[in-house]
Point group: C2
Chain length 211, copies 2
DNA sequence: CTAACGTTTGTCCAATCGGTCAAAAATTTG
DNA sequence: CAAATTTTTGACCGATTGGACAAACGTTAG
């Protein structure tokens, strides 16, 4: 039985080298974008010659495609974990925390994704309108349920999710700007904890002074 | 007396053609990034030949640089307007509204800026650590004053500004994703009004249900 | 050993890149 | 008008791009 998308059988060397290439390509693509990156750059970062790289991935696009496919799953994992069991506010708070941790620990993945979206998502548009929309709609329904039950304030669930994505990914995608503005003191390793504290307060209480 | 940065005297044709080129370059750069854009693309979008374009801008970098210089001023205008006169919550609310309007009306400018930051801001790093940091520090002091006066909740002013940037610019930079997820109905022209309503509630009251 | 197979590399190619240049065309100036 | 100046273009250049290919190299099985 063939699914049509099963992975070809590979030797141990092929698996290792492909991983090496994907790691190098993540570094290069995430900082230069797809068109701004060259196969030579990736090959050099992976420590091999260009023809050798092309032996493992026949086209530049194949590398990018493989990278994006893997990315989307891990990237959406935190949202998938958001479910109905447990206290809604706690659930949302830990979703925000997880997304912020991903921005801290996987900034290259975030930037790769941002680059793709910025340029109109030419290579993953179907995934956005398909898999992603389905997942978000599903979770929006969960959130809407919490609102109806009076567990959280009534508002737009979709834009709530957008705002969580925006605020957390900002610390990966705009990292240089964040560090430049915060300066050497406040822009050090502690900036993610500061961000976590701020975001928790923002999403829970907003800015109105406590009366 | 020469400042060293004064604009050269230009004919009427030069002014018009330069504007035409900058408009075309904004379109191209904002969707492909600097390295991903070609002079030919810009020339074609501007309706002229490549050598003709290079008669007005001698290098590709000159176009980008001119674009970025103009951009930063208009882009930071809303933040500059944030000042101490008037009610703090109203002041912040109108800042958020203005930023969201800019994301709606000038998405290309937002994406151009995002592209530059994403790739490590190689061409505007000094501006970030200089002019931008100075401005943000200044406004952070204003916000801190409001907190001390008990007008708004105590929190981190810098991260507050980041969160406003992130949530508003998200609707320009990630527009394709936003529309894909919202779908044809909710993703129409009304999405900015929905976003405005949501953001106002988020920043003022947060998500806790009203007791 | 040798044959088969998997891996690596040097060389090459057509297309595209940013940019030059001289000459033609259009415009302004006297 | 004619001369001077500005604008536009076609042809061209060296460098870089993504990718092809055959030969060389390494490894493993018989």
């Amino acid at each position: 039985m063939s699914t049509g998308t099963e992975a070809p059988r590979r030797t141990r060397i092929q698996q290792e080298k492909r991983e090496l290439i994907l790691e190098a390509a993540l570094e290069v693509f995430s900082t230069n974008g797809f068109r701004g990156s060259t196969i030579d750059q990736i090959a050099e970062a992976a420590g091999m010659s260009k023809p050798n790289l092309l032996y493992y991935f026949r086209r530049k696009e194949d590398i990018h495609e493989t990278l994006m496919q893997r990315l989307l799953d891990t990237w959406l994992a935190p949202l998938r974990e958001l479910d109905d069991i447990g206290d809604p506010l706690t659930e949302l708070r830990s979703y925000i925390r997880r997304k912020l941790e991903m921005a801290r620990d996987f900034p290259r993945e975030s930037r790769l994704f941002a680059n793709e979206i910025l340029q109109g998502a030419p290579r993953i548009m179907p995934l956005l309108a398909g898999e992603l929309k389905t997942l978000v709609d599903e979770k929006a329904a969960v959130i809407r349920g919490w609102m109806r039950a009076g567990k959280i304030a009534r508002t737009d669930p979709w834009h709530l999710i957008f705002s969580i994505w925006a605020t957390t990914q900002h610390y990966a995608d705009f990292d240089v700007q964040v560090r430049a503005v915060l300066g050497p003191n406040r822009g050090g390793d502690g900036r993610f904890e500061d961000a976590a504290r701020f975001l928790e307060q923002l999403f829970l209480d907003g800015l109105k002074p406590k009366g």
